[in-house]
Symmetry: C2
Subunit: 265 residues, 2 copies
């Protein structure tokens, strides 16, 4: 520990992770090859993909590329949707779209709709998103199968670059008991979403009993810091330097705790 | 967009955030000056603090430095603690310590204790932590006032280095409806924990109505990726390159949604 100030020689290897925003992607539209656009853009930026990178992709661009966008003018609302919409000054077609994406309703109160989506996620408005979608009456749904979307992007990147890149599809997520939203993982490919540390020892030899870290959620939250959520135009980020547990079969549903097993609610 | 492969010349400025683990801190004990140790260690690593850095500190080392550690052998359990402990094979002194840190109980089931701490946080075991605390019978409590702890560290860093560094105290957090834990913020200094983006426009001019990003939680989750939670011995991380909203008066309690206002539960 004798190295002087400002010396670039390090006695200790410094663990560093980089979160790199992929900037300059075109506006994503139906049929676009997201993987190819991400590869091209990253390469032009001088940050071509490397083995071990993690690519975090906002679900909105995945949905746009997959054409999973609905024009509310084409939605005929049910009586139930109309009743709820009228009571709270909502758009009946938007309420109908949310109901169609849901398999059950967790809470309807104060004009807010918390539902369980067909994927099993519990979230506001079934993840139906009217920001960052071109066209005033267009809303983006969640991708139909976010794990498959992630897997397709992963395979396409491997084909184009021969690099082993894990892919995570992220969503913005309002939380029980916490204010503000964070980004979480709704689809994964090539990475285990939870790092199970039970059985490992801590600094003092104490064997950990309950540590299971939701690393896919943490990676999405880290990526949000560069992606932003408004007009930055950075729907894709690379996380470089993080050593993660690999898996070809893991799915994001592992991150969802069934409501009936939940102790908090 | 004509720059060739591997050219270091970038036509687009690349938004990059670094998460840097501060490695090589001594084992923190009561009375240690955490800020000074972090400054010294970061400087020896060749990564001295810069203006605009965010320092994320695990609550366990804050509690150890502040002496907020309890030896369970010195705790006399109440009858209630003994009854619950006996039913589920728990340590009565540990249950008593959890109850003493709590102002109400949210759930007691299956041997698990979810409580609301005196700070107003809802969490498992009132945040009482028996990992990474030396001494088999010692447990770390949450810092008494994590915002004040963060502020003290921030002021001390400014005194030692003249740099403006935001400080966040983090905790590992099990979540309603999600499996696995993530790190969140329980104390802040110099940073607004929520970035309020309502009123900003998205990429297509749509005015955002609901975006309030819990950036302090996202920063703690990002930091966890280098800090780990087991035997890495990295209780402190620097986040560099993230432009955050500054505040001298913000508090982490802004991240806590009162139970009576929660729609999810």
């Amino acid at each position: 520990m004798m190295c002087p100030k400002n010396d670039s020689y390090h006695l200790v290897e410094i663990p560093t992770i980089q979160i790199i925003g992929v900037k300059g992607l075109p506006i994503i539209k139906k049929g676009d090859n997201l993987a190819e656009l991400a590869c091209d853009t990253a390469e032009r930026q001088g940050i071509p993909f490397q083995d071990g990178d993690i690519l975090v992709v906002s679900h909105v661009v995945v949905s746009r590329a997959e054409g999973n966008v609905v024009n509310l003018d084409n939605v005929v609302p049910s009586d139930f949707a109309k009743t709820f919409a009228q009571e709270f000054g909502k758009d009946p077609a938007l309420v109908e779209t949310i109901l169609r994406e849901s398999r059950s309703i967790v809470r309807m109160g104060d004009g807010k709709l918390i539902t369980e989506t067909k994927h099993g996620l519990v979230c506001a408005n079934a993840g139906v998103d009217n920001s960052n979608v071109p066209g005033e009456r267009n809303v983006a749904l969640l991708p139909k199968n976010p794990d498959s979307s992630a897997q397709r992007i992963r395979q396409e990147i491997r084909k184009l670059t021969e690099k082993d890149v894990a892919v995570i599809v992220s969503d913005t997520h309002g939380r029980p008991l916490r204010e503000g939203e964070i980004n979480i993982a709704i689809g994964v490919a090539g990475i285990r979403p939870i790092r199970d540390r039970r059985g490992e020892k801590d600094l003092f030899g104490y064997v950990l009993k309950v540590k299971r870290t939701a690393i896919a959620d943490e990676l999405c939250s880290a990526a949000e810091l560069v992606m932003g959520q408004a007009n930055e135009g950075i729907p894709v980020a690379i996380i470089r330097g993080y050593s993660y547990p690999k898996s070809e079969s893991a799915k994001a549903i592992e991150l969802t705790r069934p409501r009936e097993k939940d102790l908090f609610i």
